[in-house]
Symmetry: C2
């Protein structure tokens, strides 16, 4: 992991004019995180198709996507529409398609976007084929493969894989290949488990590709990915692309999994101290779940960070200090390491930063990112794409 | 509780043109809920100061607030600014004030809004007094009283109550009175516990008021409230106003507490079935925590509803069906009552409605409400006020 010096941090004075709570991005850390995964995947000779679901801000796209033809993954058609408007042309919508959304898919394809959809049922294949036939268009489609029982997808040995691929390949839609997501890797907290999850993701993908090859069905795309496995591949022979999203910001879940350090986390919520409860050892801040999200993704992790790890206004992690509980607009901060809390470190009106359990969830609570670059002394605002 | 017939529900066909997931309000239920609390509080002869934090939509304000002078509570200055722009003039900002926010408070007061702030520390009193002195204005302030150790506030017997009230009363700010919130009542699941929490809230408020009276400090405002206690007061002698928010929509937390029935819940997320996993008994829908929120407010309640209770597209509750888990854009629905799931009830492409654990949290994930009135056949869109 890269080493950050205090100098990448925006000084507290740089954001004093912004009312709290707000969402802060440490831009040098964000860019370091992007470079780190890109450098890790490049030697494998496969494409990186970053997942835009974490960031969802067009101002950030240029950092994540080298050019207009760069592959990108989205979790909503709204993201795809915003990226298309910004000129991006190679987009995979990685949530199972429904018939009612096909007119929006069709509109993007008509604009010249390669918008690839995902599916795993005959009903979805039928809907896509029917839409293509009715509108004389070609929608590329991937079949979702289940590698770990996490949510959707079909097993590589399931005969439905061949049936669906044939229905697509023979129909007006276009069969593009297979897509897997090792969602269960989020529960791996050791290097060995991560490598096994990564190996399994790749091996399952190849079993699907080989099953198709045995029936002479070409499978140009073999797409795998999740942030935990993206940092754990030992080989990617036969895979064509890797997807990952949360690595751009990182978070406390990923720190638990071991693919980043607390110092790599580029996202935080800045909050103001609005009260003390000396009897209980509580500092009250003006960031509750509305600013932090209600995500308790570290609840069953080796280190449970409550509703977030506390850092000081300059970004330095304050060991043992967490958000113990969160109401809508109140967070209660306290120590979890048995030491007494020093209230003088948290005067009323002073600011703290809260590192998120889950960057995707915390970012989703905000309309804007306040992006600071302490190295260059810059401040910019990125705007979240909202909705579906 | 009122009885709803199926006829208040918008038929599924009424929303077929909207892409899922989206947030739906059943307007007749919403209005019934508003009437129910108003009717319950009116006989006590105290004001109802609805909390706008749940709804946060100006289009809804006219239903909640009879006229421009109606009292209203907010959780953010952004709500106060939007309400002021819409003409409302009597607003209490019920989150501890910080010095950095006072220019926005001052701007509202200059516009003629009675914007009352909340505080519980000498630093906050000093900041408000200093601001008033520097800007020759008068900011009304309430002192937060702690009635149940939930988060902030000071105890009524704490000598700081008198000190702070004196500093306000003698300074350029204006001491208005005391405010309490029985936050711990959210953990009461029996009528007796709720009544005790309500009694305690009122009794604690009166102890604070009496402590002030004993020092000849007038206390014109005695503000209490939370949705659980608002439905449980036995007497309100000496109280001047009641605050509550979530009662307007109700949710599964409130159903657990016993202040509403599932049929009273006016808010739901409409989702589309995008997959089946017959081996696991799972139906996958396109609403994950991004649409539902990650709030697990019923986790320790008598009935744990997972990430939400499933209803059919017409709004009828499907007993035993819950959202078992939620990823960003995927929800996994299944049975929790041991019965086998009938997949024919959930064809791919069909719709379900998910009742929320916590209406405030679920609504916060959306920019808009799709508001249907099945009785009058109308559909309108309300826009959420976002941010702080």
């Amino acid at each position: 992991m890269q080493t950050h010096t205090g100098s990448t941090q925006a000084p507290a004075a740089a954001h004093g004019h912004l009312n709290t709570p707000f969402l802060m991005v440490d831009k040098p850390k964000f860019i370091d995180n992007l470079i780190r995964l890109r450098s890790l995947i490049a030697p494998f000779g496969v494409a990186l198709r970053p997942h835009f679901k974490t960031i969802r801000a067009i101002e950030a796209a240029a950092y994540v996507l080298p050019d207009a033809s760069s592959p990108v993954t989205v979790s909503t058609l709204r993201e795809a529409e915003a990226l298309a408007e910004a000129g991006y042309r190679n987009i995979t919508y990685a949530v199972g398609i429904s018939a009612a959304k096909l007119p929006r898919v069709g509109a993007l394809i008509e604009q010249g976007v390669t918008l690839t959809v995902l599916l795993d049922s005959p009903e979805q294949v039928q809907a896509v084929n029917d839409y293509c036939a009715a509108h004389r268009c070609t929608i590329p489609a991937l079949i979702e493969i289940d590698c770990d029982g996490h949510r959707g997808g079909i097993l590589p040995e399931d005969p439905r894989l061949i049936e669906l691929a044939r229905l697509l390949a023979d129909g007006p839609a276009q069969f593009q290949g297979v897509l897997l997501h090792a969602g269960e890797s989020y529960r791996c907290y050791r290097r060995q488990g991560l490598q096994e999850a990564a190996d399994n993701e790749v091996a399952t993908a190849l079993r699907a590709r080989n099953a198709l090859a045995a029936r002479q069905i070409p499978c140009p795309v073999v797409s795998v990915g999740s942030t935990p496995t993206a940092f754990s591949y030992r080989q990617l022979e036969g895979v064509t692309e890797v997807r990952a999203g949360v690595y751009s910001f990182f978070d406390l879940v990923m720190a638990n999994i071991g693919v980043c350090e607390l110092e790599d986390i580029a996202l935080s919520v800045v909050a103001t101290v609005i009260g003390h409860n000396r009897d209980k050892g509580w500092v009250l801040v003006d960031a509750g779940w509305m600013a932090l999200s209600a995500d308790r993704g570290t609840a069953r992790a080796p280190v449970d960070y409550g509703y977030g790890q506390v850092a000081n206004a300059g970004g330095a992690v304050m060991a043992g200090m967490q958000v113990l509980s969160a109401n809508q607009e109140h967070g209660i901060i306290g120590r979890v390491d048995g030491h007494p809390l020093c209230f003088e470190d948290f005067p009323i009106g002073s600011r703290v930063r809260i590192l998120p359990n889950h960057a995707c969830a915390t970012a989703a609570m905000h309309d804007q990112y306040q992006v600071f670059d302490g190295l260059h002394g810059t401040h910019e605002v990125w705007h979240r794409i909202k909705g579906w």
